[in-house]
Amino acid sequence: MSRLSVRDHLPSVLVATISSAFGVALLGVTGVIGTAAEEDDATGSSGTVGLMLQIVAAVFIVIAMYVAAIVTANTFATIIAGRTRTIALLRLLGSSASAQRRAVAREGLLVGLAGAALGLLLGAGATFLLTRIGIALGALPDLAYPLVDASAGLPVAAVVLTTWLASWVGSRRVLTVTPLQALGSAQERSAADAARPARTVTGLVLVIVGLALVGFGVLVGLVTPFGVFLGLIGGVLSFTGLVAGSTWLMPPALRLVGRLFGQGAAARLAAENALRYPERSSRTAIGLVIGITLITMFGVGIATFERIMREAMAAEPRLYEGTQQMLTATVVVLSVLLGFSALIAAIGMVNNLSLSVLQRTRELGLLRALGFTGAQIRRMILVESAQLTLAALLVGVALGAFYGWAGAQSLFGAFDGSPGVVLPGVPWTLLGVLAIASGALTWIASLAPSRRATRVSPVAALAVD
């Protein structure tokens, strides 16, 4: 355990690097925009603009880091599962469980430090490049902008801390490894992932309270646009509840999607594999759900706003000139910002699928010996991958559509002076992009594991190690 296996941790380093780079670059760019605004300050409100920008940036950075923490915790849990035999042997030889766990957390700290440092470099580089491009295009005045702001220290430190914490959370399983597991030729157990009632209850309470607030916000919105603030609080609470309770939200969704792929041997095994470790699959999927929900939510919200604007525009065309471009630009910027969280979640999903296939070498050999063709193995892994992305896509789009509509309803319920029902707009282009991206992710995630799995020789299953 003391030997740091670099290959195990590359994906986690990548995740930490991306979130640190994203944080540094986003704060850097908002800092530059703030400085530029200060320079041609006509209204004297530039201080407020800078502050607002930083608050918005902070929200997106926190979302990205939250997703990164989930992904990292999951990756560590998966790595630990693969090391169970080794850990058990060390326990057998007298090492204590907590010493083992501390060793894992040390690896997490190193991963966090490496990723944060790399991210700082990349983020500063990206800020510099973007600023140069802005100046070249004439969008920014040619000033001496600082390369990195002191505020960049915040995301860097946060990445180190969250990665460390995530590795600690992810290594919880170390405590459940018994020395006996080193001896048993016992078959892998479908790990009865420890049910954590406390978390389930907290999640449920958050969902109920949050949904009640969202509903209340919708009602208040019939009278005043301030209903949206109630809705916002309710949305944050209920969504946090759903994420905390992902272990009861995602498995039914995964099971349902699994049925869509039919009853063939490959599809059935894939469906079982996707649910083999419900906690792991749920966390893998929930990262994607967070990204997809938020992107869909903004998409639906803005599509609804667009429609209302178009209707208003029909009455007074001059008043709303230029809103269309601004809205499109807003959708693009928000999607790109949230896209980083989605990217981090996607890395987590690719890595999780690879690791879980790697840990099943023996079983794959058995299937090959019993007559699974290479094509059937590939199909099985593709279906497994599709099941995760499709379940995340369905849940994310459904949640996003609901929150987007609720937001629009509570903001515009009283738009034309009298209470009314706002029909949600459908952001078709955005949904198309999401569907294509999910398809691509399904395929990409299955590539490496399929290649590895079809190379497993059936003799591997017969060997007694």
Binding site: S185, R268, E363, A369, G371, T373, S457
Partner: protein, 251 residues
């Protein structure tokens, strides 16, 4: 050696297998020629490293030989593509391994019908009746909805036997099927294999170290240093042990 009543179900001719390249090659099999007879329970014995597992892997199409030819029935499998070998294993060969025989995510019933599912079909009425008979005679009826990890080693081994016998393959290969079992459970498993051969005419080739296990077989083949050194009919455990001791002394 082939009698009309017992034509061979599988045979190898001048089979050689070497592992590794250059200076450190290991010759696992050296010009082995033998046939496994239809409807018989054949044991393959020999000291550790004598090439038993390698022979079985090659006969089952899991590994390819360095030299020589291999037939299963009338099919020469030496030149088959990977996909054809896979289909051959699926339809004409059954396996019972020492450990890790079952797919952990499938329940017992799912594991038993897996060979049919891989073929994309359900057992026919006739096959289903056969499977039901196997499940009852192996005492697995109450366990069909359980997962493999909920069963003892002996029970898991019985499930593996049910799965291997279910599609009525030409030949069942078993590599140390009792290696992980206590002696009483092991004897039960051996009796099941012997019954399958004598009662239903199932051809079985079993690799084993254990003279008691080999005494259940109709015929015993001995390998030493990758060569076939002895071919005898049914013998008692004592006879087998003393032959093995003599073989060791000669070596």
């Amino acid at each position: 050696m082939t009698t009309p009543a017992n034509p061979v179900v599988a045979r190898v001719d001048g089979l050689g297998k070497a592992f590794g390249t250059g200076g450190n090659t290991v010759t696992a099999l050296d010009a082995v020629t033998l046939g496994i007879r239809r409807g018989q329970f054949t044991a393959i014995m020999g000291p550790s490293g004598s090439g038993k597992s390698t022979l079985m892997h090659i006969m089952a199409g899991l590994d390819s030989p360095t030299s020589g030819r291999v037939w299963l029935g009338d099919t020469e499998i030496t030149r088959l593509s990977d996909t054809d070998l896979t289909l051959l294993r699926r339809r004409r060969v059954g396996f019972v391994f020492q450990a890790f025989n079952l797919v952990p995510t499938l329940d017992i019933a799912g594991n038993i019908v897996l060979p049919f599912e891989l073929d994309g079909r359900r057992p026919s009425a006739d096959e289903q009746a056969w499977i039901d008979g196997l499940i009852d005679s192996l005492g697995l009826r109450e366990r069909l909805r359980h997962r493999p990890h909920q069963l003892s080693g002996g029970q898991q081994q019985r499930v593996a036997i049910a799965r291997a016998l279910a599609p009525r393959p030409d030949l069942v290969f078993a590599d140390e099927p009792t290696g992980n079992l206590d002696s009483r459970t092991g004897r039960e498993v051996l009796a099941l294999l012997a019954t399958a051969a004598r009662g239903y005419g199932q051809s079985i080739a079993m690799v084993t170290h254990d003279p008691v296990a080999a005494s259940y077989a109709d015929r015993i083949l001995f390998l030493a240093d990758g060569r076939l050194v002895e071919d005898r009919t049914r013998s008692s455990a004592e006879e087998i042990s003393s032959f093995m001791l003599a073989m060791e002394r000669a070596a």
